[in-house]
């Protein structure tokens, strides 16, 4: 599987170990979306999953986020480069390719996790263009900078 898996595993906070939460999210930050559309399927403590793994709790499936991708850059050189600095007097809308933030509700899946460690696996799935035009894993579409596990009491 050419996706992403946390390494090393996340040490769960005591509230998560004790199942002392009413809601839990995993939030992905800095997601690139300038490429093709894809779904990021999120599994907990199931690092060996792939595109065919059922999206069911008993297989560690927690939820998905979907990126409706920009599809590439269609301007001239530099058109899709996100500026790193912004003029304080620049009132134009922000660059359209600023990375995205996507939360995934993992409440039920996290309740099933046993022990004090958690691995988060993201399987990036695209459709079409090869693999007989069906679903397949494409590693080069998934880029993000950070993930956070948030639990709420």
């Amino acid at each position: 599987m050419d996706g992403y898996t946390t390494d090393p595993a996340i040490t769960l906070p005591p509230a998560a170990v004790a199942n002392d939460f009413t809601h839990a999210d995993i939030v992905f930050y800095g997601i690139e979306h300038r490429g093709p559309s894809f779904a990021g399927r999120v599994y907990l403590n199931s690092p060996d999953v792939d595109v065919d793994t059922p999206r069911q709790l008993e297989h560690g499936y927690a939820g998905s986020f979907v990126i409706f991708g920009h599809g590439g850059c269609f301007g001239d050189e530099g058109h899709c480069n996100v500026p790193t600095q912004r003029d304080p007097f620049d009132s134009r809308p922000p660059h359209g390719l600023l990375p995205q933030t996507q939360p995934v509700d993992v409440t039920e899946a996290l309740r099933r996790v046993e022990g004090g460690e958690l691995t988060v696996t993201v399987v990036p799935v695209v459709r079409g263009q090869s693999e007989d035009e069906g679903e397949f894993v494409r590693a080069d579409v998934l880029f993000f900078t950070e993930l956070r596990l948030l639990t709420y009491r």
Binding site: F68, F74, P93
Partner: protein
């Protein structure tokens, strides 16, 4: 919920028009809608289909950059549908119809497949496929030009370029197995459990993306998605779900920093599109009119 809408505080309330379910359109309704789309396809100026489809993606600028992965997702697309619907209603075919010609919605959670109205392979069916603006195709091929493919971004651009060059000039679809579509249960839970706007909007945008990917072909690619006529029916469903949510949670707040944001290029703020009745439409699933002669 009001059966009327007031275009502005200075104008009187008037009867609303209702967007129909695509599976419940009468034959005259469907024929009038198809005639209106055919008429729009024949217009080459900024009243025509190509102009409106291009606002979402190519040709540049891609205005929908404002609307994906942001809190403007729902208001931007509501403004977009509103403007396109006005163009549909401006056609002679719509004006001559004896009913309101409105954009239909496709309930993909219930009708789990491309609706027959959009799948019918009759050559005269404008809802099955539409041409893509040659300038959009040209930009799609040019901008994704081959550069240093060692950089992951460049490699993706190269792959996009290959797809563009191989593409036919008309929209295509490659629907997946219907089991991949969002389910009624998922939508029920979304409406039941997400009482805050941001949470609702982000989850609904995820389901929206799943449907784009399910339809496949051009629908899964932002630059060309809106050229496929089913784009509008899909987004009317998204807009309808937002309307249903608004009725369920009338006290829910809307982010104040987004409310004053202008939805480009429609010259409408998010606040101005929050209430669809001020835009003249709603989503009653049944409407019976009795004309009275005086």
């Amino acid at each position: 919920m009001s059966p009327t809408g007031a275009p502005s505080p200075l104008k009187p309330a008037v009867p609303l028009r209702h967007r129909p379910s695509v599976t419940e359109m009468t034959q005259p309704e469907l024929e009038a809608f198809r005639a209106a789309i055919t008429e729009l396809l024949g217009k080459e100026d900024d009243r025509g289909y190509q102009y409106h489809a291009g606002v979402h993606g190519l040709p540049l600028p891609m205005y929908c950059n404002q609307a994906h992965g942001t809190p403007a997702f729902l208001p931007w697309h509501r403004a977009y549908l509103y403007r396109f619907e006005l163009a549909v209603r401006d056609t002679e075919a719509a004006k001559q119809a004896d009913h309101d010609v409105m954009l239909p919605w496709w309930d993909w959670a219930t009708d789990r497949g491309i609706p027959p109205a959009y799948a019918d392979s009759d050559a005269a069916n404008p809802l099955r496929s539409a041409p893509i603006n040659p300038l959009a195709l040209s930009q799609g091929a040019k901008g994704a030009g081959a550069k240093d493919i060692e950089d992951p971004d460049e490699r993706r651009r190269e792959q996009a370029r290959e797809r563009r060059l191989a593409q036919t000039p008309n929209t295509t679809r490659k629907p997946a197995d219907p089991s991949y579509l969002p389910t009624q249960e998922q939508i029920r839970l979304l409406l039941k459990e997400k009482s805050d706007f941001i949470g609702f909007s982000m989850e609904l945008e995820g389901y929206h993306g799943e449907v784009h990917m399910w339809v496949g072909g051009d629908m899964e690619d932002i630059p060309f998605a809106a050229y496929d006529p089913i784009f509008w029916a899909h987004h009317c469903m998204i807009d309808r779900l937002w309307r249903m949510w608004q009725l369920l949670y009338p006290q829910a707040s809307f982010p104040t920093n987004v409310a004053s944001e202008v939805m480009e290029p429609f010259n409408l703020t998010a606040a101005e599109v929050l209430d669809p009745t001020t835009l003249g439409y709603d989503y009653a699933t049944a409407s019976t009119t009795v004309k009275v002669k005086v």
